[in-house]
């Protein structure tokens, strides 16, 4: 039980956020499109569990809908990274040091050389701010991460004798990659995916904080923080609540990633005993 502590806490936190986000499609406590100035800047109370903002909107409702934005952006960005990065990594690993490998890995290095957030800012700024461009911008930086991780693991698998045995059986490199290499990478990819997912949430928050993420009226956690900034001296809950939402989500995902790594990696499990 104790060894699964991170996994349990992490999954629990992540599930809360996921349920809140899903539930928001069906029901939220108050309509967030409805401004109600008389109710503005309430601290948490029985009518508004998390208080209201400067337009009198219910913060709990905004957090729930904001979760939707955060999760969707981060998830799609991971999808882009995995969908493009993993095949590239597998392809590079089939012939170590060959032209294809060099091109893929050098491109990776190049992307790594760009401060990721700067380029995300550049892309969203030049091509227009919005959730879609945020997804693409964050996704592009997930590609080299997944390519590198899957290439590294695949290279060591290609040295394994069961892969040699498959080659002696006349299977093509493509088929071996799909049939033998990829299934043995799943654990690693799940763990890396969780980590990139949490980084994606942080990046999305950063982008929407500087106004380059999802555009109003779509609520997003980063935007709520930006709005709160001028009011922190008299309404600190405006900053504390969305901030806590981000922290709990990222914390939950990180704990889940760590827990999954321990639970899925037999080598680590053994050394724990």
């Amino acid at each position: 039980m104790r060894q699964y502590r991170s996994l349990i806490i992490g999954t629990f936190l992540s599930l809360i956020v996921l349920i809140a986000a899903t539930f928001s499609f069906v029901w939220i406590p108050y309509d967030i499109m409805q401004l109600s100035i008389p109710d503005k800047l309430q601290t948490p109370n029985w009518d508004h569990f998390l208080g209201t903002d400067h337009f009198g909107r219910d913060i709990l409702s905004m957090i729930m809908v904001g979760a939707r934005t955060s999760l969707a952006v981060a998830l799609l960005a991971v999808g882009i990274g995995m969908g493009i990065g993993v095949p590239l990594g597998l392809a590079a690993a089939t012939r170590r040091g060959a032209f294809l490998d060099e091109v893929i890995m050098r491109t990776n290095d190049l992307i790594f050389a760009f401060p990721s957030l700067v380029i995300a800012i550049l892309i969203t700024a030049l091509f227009g701010a919005g959730a879609m461009n945020a997804i693409i911008a964050i996704g592009i930086f997930n590609i080299p991460v997944f390519a590198r991780v899957s290439r590294g693991a695949a290279l060591s698998l290609w040295q394994k004798e069961f892969i040699l045995a498959a080659r002696v059986s006349g299977k093509s490199k493509l088929r071996i990659s799909v049939e033998h290499i990829l299934p043995n990478l799943t654990n690693l990819l799940i763990v890396q995916g969780t980590i990139q997912f949490s980084l994606g949430i942080l990046a999305e928050a950063g982008l929407s904080y500087v106004g380059l993420g999802a555009q109003p009226p779509t609520p997003s956690w980063g935007r709520m923080l930006a709005d709160a900034q001028t009011m922190v001296s008299f309404a600190p809950h405006l900053a504390l609540i969305p901030g806590s939402a981000i922290i709990l989500t990222v914390l939950g995902l990180n704990l889940m990633g760590d827990g999954l790594r321990d639970a899925l990696d037999p080598k680590l499990r053994k050394s724990r005993q």
Binding site: E161, A166, R167, S169, G170, P183, N184
Partner: protein, 535 residues
Amino acid sequence: MSLLYVDQLNIKLGPVSVLKDVSFSLQQGEILALTGESGSGKSMTALALMQLLPDIAKTDGRILFQREDLTTKTEKELCKIRGSDISMVFQEPMTALNPVKTISAQVSETLILHKGETPRAAREKAQSILHKVGLPPSVVPMGRFPHELSGGQRQRVVIAIAVALTPSLLIADEPTTALDVTTQAQILALLKSLVKETNMAMILITHDLAVVANMADNIAIMQHGKIVEMAPTQTLFSQMHHPYTKSLFAASGHTVNLPYKAVNADNLLKVTHISRQYRLPRKHPFEATKYARAVSDVSFSIDHGERLGLVGESGCGKSTLTRAILGLDPIEKGTITLNGRDVQNAKADVRRDIQVVFQDPYGSFNPRHKVSRLVCEPYHLLPNAPSGRVADDKISRLLEDVGLSSTDKDKYIHEFSGGQRQRIAIARALIIRPKLVIFDEAVSALDVTVRAQILDLIAKLAAEYGLSYLFISHDLAVVRSVTDRCLVMRDGQIVETGRTKDILDNPTHDYTKKLINAAPKLPALPKGITAHAPS
């Protein structure tokens, strides 16, 4: 009073009992061999003597070293003893040295630590110690880093660290297992001379009974964490009592029953003048590219029904050759043909006639597939592979042929031991009835008793299936009984070839002679112990 007295030592790792009532004693100048198969508790005994057990270990019993109980000493007191009174040499010279420190720094560290020497004085002493273990500065300058040394040289550095302060007790845990046979002979001779010179006691831990026979004064045989038999070497060899001891010795000297078979000169595999070289990293950007020859102008052939051995030390080019024959790596010059058809860039119809059994029983299988799927992977090479019931029956029959049960086919690979996995690997190689099987160090990773069983299986299948195979090994003794003809390879070239028996009994090439002389030999076994595989 003896130097070391181990009294009723019990060690538990969590719920698992790894040492049970181990007792022995050791005098100054004595060499005691601890021997047994993997998991017998040999290495755990060594770590217990060093008091370097894992944190979760629970110790019960006494270890009296110079009349003081090591199990009751504080960590601080133990640090004073380790390295100065008791030292240890480890199995893996490749990883036993810190890669970022020079060898001189690593040897002098012991001197500085225990004797409070100045770095300068320690460096000078380190130099003389390194000289003593056979690394004079003219050959290996003191400023070298471990990665610039060969395996044997690194092991000498590890020994230099261990004997720097002439300890009373040296523990050598499989000190030569990772080394080639000629290097092994040198390292063993060095250890023996150091013991003689300084009158220290040595505990030699090894799985190799032939090594034990030539080195030890006393032998303790371990099995499942217990010492099952202990006696002076001569006594033990002439009158062994315990059944496990007998089976261990029988398996070590095991020869299979596979009579020599004369075959017609009818080439199955023909390797003609093949060469393959690797590019060496350049030291300067403008230096001309240099190449290392892995295989250079090698030619040989295997006839239908012939069993050919290939012997050589690490780096001799045998892996390159194997990979070339399997079509895994390209060659630069020459041709390899099977039944007259080119193997390189071959299509399925040629490929299916060659299959392979690899060395590592643990890395040879995809852990996510069941045995039935693993075994029939080569079906991929058949134009119309059997499926359904037919395939099932074939797999079942084959599993029984290799000594497993047909119900094993629905299990995953982690449920099998190393020996059973090698059986499955053989089944996989045979399922499509290839014309040629390559055994690439196929028994090298196995314990002696299991190795004997697998060799018997190979001999049985060779007779039943009429196999032709290429048996690659670094171990002359193994090649002797399972092959008809044999090649000796060195530095990418074949130096000697002929009937296996002739080569091993009357070698003509100097290198072959050297190999045979360096290999430790098991003394003649007492009566009543016949060299056949234990069941």
